[in-house]
């Protein structure tokens, strides 16, 4: 028997597409259009939001009391000023120096003590990578000194804990404060991130063979204190983002009154003379915005202002050159825009 030859089409394509708003691209859509109303209100809203925020951050930045004392030059007496590097490298010289500072406005505790280094590329790729996180946290892998070259092993091929350039170059200036001949306690607890102490630096990892090499980079560590309590190291190991950076040294929990004369005794040990880095000591209070930084506030005020200005400009533009919304006479193929009635 014959088969009917009704045109069989390839099955794959013969199915009728099913209707759905999705497949027909008819899903309900919100179509934002930059109508004058939208534009002007956007600019206005930005202005209205930004100016108060700017004012708030500017005020809080202003309320921060901050004192910066540059001491790398002060602590060099005239004899050594010519040969600062030799001075600093010499273990025998007395590097203690004293400076004083008068409190200009009242500083509410806690007062944060920072040291600031300039021109110090802690973000240099060689430097950033020169550490071994496994070694820091796990006593079992103290021999793991990958990435730590050239500060990986001592001459006896003993692994250095903590290894690497970062640890090696640990900052070793110290500060002591006297207010009105009374010693101020500097709280050096909790200056590092809790998360670092608990997870990045092991409580059973003790410094070993540290700073025994030919060249001493910086501070030495007490071999009896586990790494997670070496907060200076922890702070230092969180490498800075920019070549000029601050690091927390400690906190003064008391208030400093106006005209308090603060005597600061600095152990000027850290060698920044070699590459022309500055050292500063910063005493600063803090608010919700952080330290003293007027930039955010100014920027917010500026942007808010520009935004309001834009709103005004566009209002004028709409007035001067009105274009009815959706007037098809402006379409390019209609030759006389605005004149079709």
């Amino acid at each position: 028997m014959m088969e009917p030859h009704s045109a069989p089409t390839p099955k794959k394509y013969s199915k009728k597409p099913k209707y759905s708003k999705f497949s027909q691209q008819e899903l309900p859509a919100w179509k934002p259009i930059l109508t004058p109303g939208w534009v002007i209100s956007t600019f206005t809203v930005v202005g209205i939001v930004f100016i108060p925020v700017g004012l708030a951050s500017l005020f809080s930045s202003e309320s921060v009391e901050e004192a910066a004392i540059r001491y790398d030059d002060k602590c060099l007496n005239e004899i050594h000023a010519q040969n600062a590097v030799a001075f600093i490298k010499n273990d025998m010289t007395n590097k203690t120096c004293t400076t004083s500072w008068t409190v200009e406005r009242k500083m509410q505790g806690p007062i944060f003590i920072y040291y600031q280094l300039d021109n110090y590329y802690q973000n240099h790729r060689r430097y950033v990578k020169s550490r071994n996180d496994k070694q820091l946290v796990n006593p079992a892998s103290e021999g793991d000194t990958t990435n730590c070259y050239p500060q990986d092993k001592t001459n006896g091929s003993m692994p250095i804990v903590p290894c690497g350039l970062i640890a090696w170059s640990l900052f070793n200036d110290t500060y002591k404060f006297w207010v009105n001949t009374k010693s101020l306690t500097v709280n050096k607890k909790d200056i590092s991130w809790g998360s670092d102490r608990s997870h990045k630096f092991g409580s059973k990892v003790y410094p070993k063979n540290f700073q025994l090499g030919g060249l001493v980079g910086g501070a030495k560590l007490d071999e009896n204190i586990p790494l997670n309590q070496q907060e200076d190291l922890i702070v230092w190991m969180r490498t800075a983002a920019l070549p000029s950076f601050r690091k927390l040294y400690g906190k003064i929990e008391t208030n400093l009154e106006v005209n308090d004369s603060v005597e600061i005794v600095i152990e000027n040990n850290y060698n920044t003379y070699e590459f022309g880095g500055n050292k500063r000591l910063i005493l600063s209070t803090a608010t919700w915005i952080g330290g003293k930084n007027p930039f955010l506030g100014m920027a917010y005020l500026f942007v808010g202002g520009v935004s309001l200005l834009c709103a005004i400009v566009f209002i004028l533009l709409y007035v001067i050159k009105p274009r009815p919304l959706g007037d098809p006479s402006y379409l390019s193929w209609n030759k006389n825009p605005g004149h079709l009635k």
């Binding site: 014959m2 110090y120 973000n123 800075a240 955010l296 942007v303 959706g326 098809p328």
Partner: protein, 1555 residues
């Protein structure tokens, strides 16, 4: 001998390893046969190539043309298994597809020893029948897949970067992180490829393990697996089995050796084709044995499925074999019990396998531009890397002395020990500079947006999904979906400037209908319905009824004077129609000879629809073809069986353009019957140009003017000498192995001369649905439509007119030359006359200018020109420098029609435009003759039509109908282009802003290529953090709705002007990128400049800031927010946070816990906010400013949408109407509904012309003008033309007045006779109706009378006649039309009338439902109301008796917030009772009733009027008048059966009557 061994070794190897040793082998074995042919052969190889040597004089000009065209490469030696990823190495098969191996010499023939596979395969010339479409084996998968994948430059780049990163001095990223993206992409692709290949393996295995009966040594047929079959095997195939290899037929179950096969797998044609076994061998074959031995010498395997040349030595005779003797692999045997044949080509050498190559890959224009910009990005990359390297150099030199001790550099070991003093990772300044350069390349790698390529692929797949799923592009008539065959060029659809369209099957339906015949100088038209007397005599039932001409029928059946010249000519005419073709009759399942009584249904299967139409027509006139074998045909002539012996057949070829058969009649007379194209026929007629000749010539012209396809029929008696001369020539020619076509043509020329003209036929090929509108729409969009057709000039022009390509006001330039000089003169003259400026010299800078100029010229719109040029002229032009003249002229013309063009000329014309402009070209066609054009054009669209799937296989997109082109280009093309253009720019921006930011930071880290961002963030940034919204927006964002795009086709110009992507935008984006990167870098730096911020925290801040910035940037540019986009865009920010949280929770990473620390500080958040706002503020301001000052068309159209959507503008009207065309005629419903009789409408307008034109503008600005006379009508169109854009439609309100129908009847000039007939019936019935109704008695008789009349009026014309009143004219209610509808509420407001009362706060879905509810309420109560206010948004009605004892009032209004209609005011029950309404209710108008009875009408359109009255009575409790019931029925029938498309078809007709 050594050679053989070597080959065997290779075969072994390739079988074991399954890798591509084969190609090497082929090269080895073929050696000299592999020739590359730089010249292009024309005529798709239907024998045309042969004329190289000895063309007939007639062809001389063609021959000179044949080496003219493009330097295509033809790769004879196709590699059987190609790879998808192997783009570059894939050979391009252009028109080489159909090369017939005419250049292979007889000596190269391969010998197949029948039933002796061993001997056949001695020389290892043949491959086995095992096929392998898969690319890999288990062993080779990994290396081969990787090898193929790394052919992509992108992957190589990835690889190079990853490799660089493995070098110790350069390890910027961790090793895993840097390999991650590459591995990811490789794995995904490999898995995809592996899966695909596994499926191929599975299907291959299935194919190879199929079984087939093969004649074994013991002389009987035993099953054998396909893969074991070899050339030379004799196989037996049973019905419905698939053919395992290319086999030469030896015998079939049919005595005459016919086999019916279905070739759908090969060419997609579903009809049956016949193949013949040679008579000589048939007798030697039985169903159980095969006694044929001998040698078949056949040509080398080639891809041409329409040609086969071989001969067979059998019993000492040399028997010719041709295409009709071979059955190809993949075909299915049908309708034949079995066939036996010998395998000549197996496995990969079969034509089916050789043809399975994919179309050459195309690259989109946007992508080409994109690559140019990628070049720019590479330059940026280089500059940045150089800057870093330079900085390093300076820094190193300056710090040279300190390097040893710098705490952060420390270049030497200073610890005592073995390494003391050694330099640590320091290679000297020059090397350090180099390393610094290389490592910055690694850091900045994503500057080259490799992920963009992957994103684009994804987006294109998504876009293709939407195109395929589009219901508007689904061809419901043949159930075909849109197909995307190429995924690379979606966006090109948005930039098409030229469309090259085939005519037959593309513009027209290619459903042939026999319409007119000129027999012996007399014209007959088959338009009168068949008289029953004639009908009854017919014993053959055809698939479709064919109307016949009664006069011709009488002439044929005239008993007296059977030998009159006219009678004989008519007889011969139909014999020619019946015999001179290749149609196969398929008679109702059984052998035709047994059916002597009763009506037998017959189905004609043929390769050409023309022939089918002709044979069917002949059958309608009593000459039924019901048996055809290779040796004879049997014709049933009104019951008398005539057996005609076919002595030979010269099939149709494109050179001769005719076909002839030599027939021996039962009375031993021998005749040659010829049919062919008129040009080729008129030259070979006998010389006397008698009256018949002239009359026929006139008829031919008339036919072609009507757009009919014409064929001329002629015949001649052959004398015995002539017969013998021809027979010997024919026998020799048909056994020739090579050059057969030329020899056959020569033989044909012996008898095809001095013919006697019999007549001509006119076959109608109807225009496809919606073609004129589509063309109009495309033209408005600035697309030029060129028609390239093989038809003759008159037909082409008439089709051009009917599809609105040509308009009467055009200057037609007709180039119709027969010499080169003449041609050039014509061109130059035309150019001079119409002032065509020569365009720039074609190439280089001139290119772009041309486009702009063209645009302007078009705008100027002085006098549109149309160029009509024929193929002969094109031969001269395309070959010589006249090409540029043609180009100038053609591009200045609005329309170009090329007629009589050969397939390759089509490609030549496409190439003419393609090579001289930058404009995108699209070719659309449906047949094999369009393949070259489709492949040549930038975008090829195939129509799945009647002519098989060749065009579809070669195309990039395939669809069912020409009209889908409108949506494809204007909507999908526009979207695709806009989306992809934005996508590319955005991707450039997204990656560049990130890289710039890294760059700024590196400047702050002593040029040490440190990245503050963790390596994982760097890697994941473009892979995860920002990729998803890019893809989603790229797939789904819509700048404009489909409605708007279709309404304003000119919006398509955005693609022409390259608005979405151009070099200017690129630079603007880059400037913006620079600014944004600076902002995103500097603000955090300044914020945290003197703080204890560590590198990872700042990096984390940057990561988030840049992700948010980039995402908000994207969000700012999204045009239409749908839910998915919200999820993707905002979700990607959350995903980023999620990733950061995960990454920051791993204690071993240096960035441990940073995000938690940051999130606690408000500074962090306000910094991010500041970054985002500051970075985007300039962009936003510029965007707003440019939209105010220089609004783009798209912008304005978007605003228009907004205005329309917000509902206070009523200018759009009904969506489907506005999409159809610019002009809409409407009549007011009430006038129509309750007005005068149906037939009177046209006359009324003609008489009185009381037409108001409401030119509705935006926001309800209506201008009305009365149309009273010719002038005001002209005026109206004038205004319309000028303001077309602003006022997309004109509404015509027609006011009717009573008119004497009789007098005006004759004024109607209706072209179509059938219309007149129906019209007469229509008006008659109206009179009948009036008469009956006026008589006032509704008795049984009257009812019946009306019933028949009504049936005549309504049912007949409602299907297709333009006379039928379009649906929209009846149900138009302007207010409801404009009132927005809210379908989601549709279920409320219907059931809440339990107690029948309204209450305040009731909700309805639409205005319609409110009004309907009020109406039915009123009707049910027997009261009535007056409408006080009827606005689009409110409806306010009061009781008719309001203030006269009743205070019923109701107010309904649209609540925009809820999107529904609510009743805010309602004054309780009616306190009146009208009481008077009993017979009829004024609100119970025919519309209401029509809606109510619609289900009834739907089920039974011929429902009696009485039943309607009864139904209404039962539902509304009213007795409506008979008259109303009748009108009602008409209305609902129109509602049920009418449809918008049809009514639009009627529009031109309406207008022509009105004007």
């Amino acid at each position: 001998m050594l050679d053989v061994k070597l080959r065997r070794l290779f075969t072994l190897l390739s079988n074991v390893l399954g890798i591509g040793i084969e190609p090497v082998l082929v090269n080895l074995s073929k050696g000299h046969a592999v020739e590359s042919f730089p010249l292009l052969k024309e005529g798709q190889g239907r024998g045309q190539g042969q004329e190289q040597g000895q063309g007939t004089p007639m062809d001389s000009h063609r021959r000179s043309h044949s080496n003219s065209l493009l330097p295509f490469e033809i790769c004879e030696n196709s590699k059987p298994h190609h790879h998808h990823h192997h783009h570059r190495s894939r050979s391009r098969f252009k028109s080489g597809q159909f090369d017939d191996g005419f250049y292979v010499h007889e000596a190269n023939a391969r010998s197949v020893y029948i039933n002796d596979p061993k001997r056949t395969n001695e020389n290892y010339e043949f491959t086995g029948n095992e096929i392998r479409t898969s690319s890999y084996t288990l062993l080779t998968f990994l290396p081969k897949n990787l090898f193929i994948q790394f052919h992509r430059v992108a992957y190589l780049y990835f690889l190079a970067i990853a490799a660089l990163n493995q070098l110790p001095p350069l390890a910027v990223f961790g090793r895993t992180a840097s390999l991650f993206p590459l591995l990811f992409v490789l794995c995904v692709t490999a898995i995809k490829d592996g899966y695909e290949d596994w499926r191929k393996h599975r299907s291959d295995r299935f194919e190879n393990n199929r079984e087939c009966l093969v004649l074994q040594e013991h002389g009987n047929f035993r099953p054998k697996k396909w893969k074991r079959i070899q050339a030379g095997d004799v196989v037996k195939i049973s019905a419905d089995e698939m053919i395992p290899a290319d086999i030469v037929l030896l015998g079939t179950s049919d005595q005459s050796g016919i086999a019916y096969i279905q070739t759908m797998n090969l060419d997609g044609e579903s009809n049956l084709k016949t193949r013949f076994a040679r008579q000589e061998t048939v007798t030697a074959v039985t169903s159980e044995s095969c006694g044929v031995t001998g040698v078949i010498r056949c040509e080398k395997p080639n891809r041409n499925i329409y040609e086969f040349a071989a001969n067979m030595e059998f019993n000492g005779n040399k028997i010719p074999l041709n295409q009709s003797n071979i059955v190809l692999r993949g075909c299915v045997l049908k309708n034949t019990d079995w066939l036996i044949g010998v395998v000549v080509c197996a496995g990969q050498e079969t034509k089916a396998m050789l043809n399975s190559a994919a179309a050459p890959p195309k690259r989109s224009k946007l992508e080409i531009y994109m690559n140019r910009e990628t070049g720019w990005l590479s330059i940026f990359l280089f500059v940045m890397c150089s800057a870093v390297a330079l900085g390093t150099a300076v820094w190193l030199v300056r710090h040279k002395q300190q390097l040893e001790t710098l705490p952060y550099y420390r270049k030497t070991y200073l610890n005592l020990g073995p390494h003391f003093g050694e330099v640590y990772r320091y290679y000297g300044i020059p090397m350090e500079i180099l390393f610094s350069f290389l490592s910055s390349v690694i850091v900045f790698q994503i500057m080259i947006p490799i992920s963009l390529y992957i994103t684009m692929e994804l987006v294109r797949v998504g876009q293709s999904y939407f195109m395929v799923e589009d219901m508007d592009m689904h061809d419901s008539s043949c159930g075909l979906r849109f197909q995307c065959r190429s995924f690379n060029i979606n966006e090109d659809l948005g930039q098409i400037r030229y469309i090259f369209s085939d005519k037959t099957g593309t513009l027209t339906e290619n459903k042939m209908e026999f319409r007119k015949a000129s027999v012996f100088g007399k014209n007959y038209e088959s338009s009168i319905p068949v008289p029953p007397a004639v009908k009854s005599k017919r014993r053959w039932k055809l698939k479709s009824e064919i109307p016949i001409d009664y006069d011709l029928m009488t002439l044929l059946q005239k008993e007296e004077d059977p030998s009159s010249e006219e009678r004989v000519a008519a007889h011969d005419f139909f014999i020619t129609l019946t015999a001179c073709n290749t149609v196969i009759p398929v008679v109702n399942g059984s052998r035709p000879s047994k059916e002597d009584d009763g009506v037998v249904s017959i189905d004609y299967q043929g390769e050409s629809p023309d022939e089918q139409a002709l044979v069917s027509a002949a059958s309608a006139y009593g000459y039924t073809l019901f048996e055809r074998t290779s040796g004879h045909v049997v014709v049933d002539k009104n019951g008398e069986k005539i057996r005609l012996e076919v002595l030979g057949m010269h099939e149709f070829d494109s050179v001769r353009k005719r076909m002839s058969v030599v027939i021996r009649f039962p009375d031993n007379a021998v005749k040659v019957l010829v049919k062919g194209a008129d040009t080729s026929m008129l030259s070979i007629l006998a010389n006397d140009k008698d009256s018949v000749w002239h009359a026929t010539q006139t008829h031919l012209n008339e036919y072609s003017l009507e757009g009919l396809r014409t064929l001329v029929l002629a015949s001649r008696d052959l004398s015995e000498e002539e017969l013998q001369a021809w027979q010997s020539a024919y026998a020799e020619a048909s056994t020739a192995l090579y050059d057969r076509a030329t020899k056959l043509r020569h033989a044909a020329s012996l008898i095809e001369c001095k013919l006697k003209l019999l007549g001509a036929t006119g076959i109608e090929d109807r225009l496809q649905e919606g073609v004129p509108d589509t063309i109009e729409c495309l033209r408005q969009a600035g697309i030029k439509v060129w028609v390239l057709t093989g038809d003759k000039q008159e037909t082409a022009i008439s089709i051009g007119v009917s599809c609105k390509l040509l308009t009467p006001d055009m200057h037609k330039i007709i180039i119709n030359a027969n010499s080169e000089a003449h041609c050039r003169d014509l061109l130059v003259e035309a150019k001079a006359r119409y002032g065509v400026r020569p365009s720039g010299k074609g190439h280089g800078n001139g290119k772009c200018k041309t486009v702009a100029d063209l645009g302007k010229e078009e705008e100027e719109d002085t006098a549109p020109m149309a160029l009509i040029i024929d193929g002969t002229s094109l031969v001269y032009i395309l070959e010589k420098e006249a090409e540029s003249e043609l180009f100038d002229l053609a591009t200045a013309c609005r329309v170009v029609i090329c007629c009589r063009v050969a397939p390759l000329q089509k490609a030549g014309i496409v190439n003419l435009i393609k090579s001289r402009t930058d404009d995108m070209t699209l070719a659309i066609g449906d047949g094999a003759n369009d393949v070259s054009m489709i492949q040549m054009a930038d975008v090829g669209v195939g129509i799945c039509g009647q002519e098989g799937r060749q065009a579809v296989m070669a195309s990039d997109f395939a669809m069912g109908q020409f009209r889908f082109l409108r949506k494809l280009l204007l909507v999908h093309g526009h979207w695709n282009y806009q989306r992809l253009g934005y996508l590319v720019l955005y991707n450039f921006y997204r990656n560049a802003v990130f890289v710039f930011m890294l760059f700024w930071y590196i400047l702050c880290s002593a040029f040490s290529t440190t990245s503050a961002l963790t390596e994982w963030s760097c890697v994941l940034y473009s892979v995860i953090y920002t990729s998803i919204p890019t893809v989603i927006v790229g797939v789904m964002d819509k700048d404009l709705s489909q409605k708007t795009l279709l309404q304003y086709p000119k919006l398509y110009g955005a693609g022409h002007r390259q608005e979405a992507y151009n070099i200017r935008l690129f630079w603007l984006t880059m400037i913006d990128t620079l600014w944004q990167s600076l902002v995103v870098f500097l603000i955090p730096v300044l914020t945290y400049q003197n703080s204890s911020m560590d590198i990872w925290s700042l990096g984390s801040l940057w990561t988030i800031a840049i992700v948010i910035l980039v995402t908000v940037h994207l969000a700012m540019d999204v045009n239409g927010w749908i839910l998915i986009m919200h999820v993707a865009v905002w979700g990607s920010i959350f995903i980023t946070y999620g990733c950061l949280i995960v990454l920051d929770s791993i204690p071993l990473l240096p960035n441990y816990w940073t995000i938690y620390h940051l999130a606690c500080s408000p500074t962090y958040w306000i910094t991010i906010l500041l970054v985002t706002v500051v970075a985007l503020l300039p962009r936003f301001a510029c965007k707003v400013a440019s939209q105010i000052l220089w609004p783009s068309d798209i912008q304005i159209a978007r605003e228009v949408e907004l205005v329309v959507d917000s509902g206070n503008a009523n200018n759009i009207g009904i969506a489907c109407l506005t999409t159809i065309g610019p002009l809409i005629v409407r009549t007011n419903v009430d006038v129509w509904g309750e007005g005068q009789h149906a037939g009177g409408v046209v006359q009324a307008t003609r008489e009185r012309r009381e037409i108001d034109v409401a030119a509705c503008g935006w926001r309800k600005r209506f201008d009305t003008m009365p149309i009273t006379d010719e002038v005001s009508m002209q005026n109206m169109f004038q205004i319309h033309r000028q303001t077309q854009m602003r006022q997309p439609q004109i509404e015509l309100y027609v006011e009717f007045e009573t008119v004497e129908a009789e007098g005006t009847q004759n004024d109607l000039e209706v072209s179509d006779d059938r219309n007149a007939v129906y019209e007469r019936m229509n008006s008659d019935s109206d009179e009948d109706f009036e008469a009956t109704y006026e008589a006032g008695d509704e008795d049984e008789d009257g009812d019946v009378g009306v019933e028949t009349a009504a049936e005549n009026v309504v049912v007949h014309p409602s299907t297709s006649q333009p006379m039928n009143v379009p649906r929209f004219m009846r149900e138009v209610d302007l207010d409801t039309m404009h009132a927005p509808e809210f379908p989601e509420y549709s279920n409320i407001g219907i059931a809440n009338l339990e107690d029948g009362e309204f209450w305040i706060g009731m909700e309805y879905s639409s205005r319609k439902t409110v009004v309907a509810a009020i109406r039915s309420y009123t009707i049910a109560r027997g009261v009535d109301y007056d409408v006080y206010e009827s606005e689009p948004q409110t409806f306010y009605a009061k009781c008719k008796m309001y203030a006269r004892g009743c205070d019923w009032l109701i107010r309904a209004s649209l609540i925009r917030k809820k999107g529904c209609w609510e009743i805010p005011r309602y004054n309780g029950r009616h306190t009146c009772s009208m009481g008077v309404i009993s017979q009829d209710h004024s609100k119970l108008d025919s519309d209401t009733v029509a809606e109510a009875i619609r289900p009834l009408v739907e089920t039974d359109p011929s429902i009696k009027v009485k039943s309607i009255i009864a139904e209404v009575q039962s539902r509304f409790n009213y007795t409506i008048s008979y008259r109303k019931a009748w009108l009602t029925k008409q209305k609902s029938i129109a509602k049920v059966f009418g449809d918008w498309e049809e009514s639009y078809q009627a529009l031109p007709w309406w207008l022509s009557v009105i004007v």
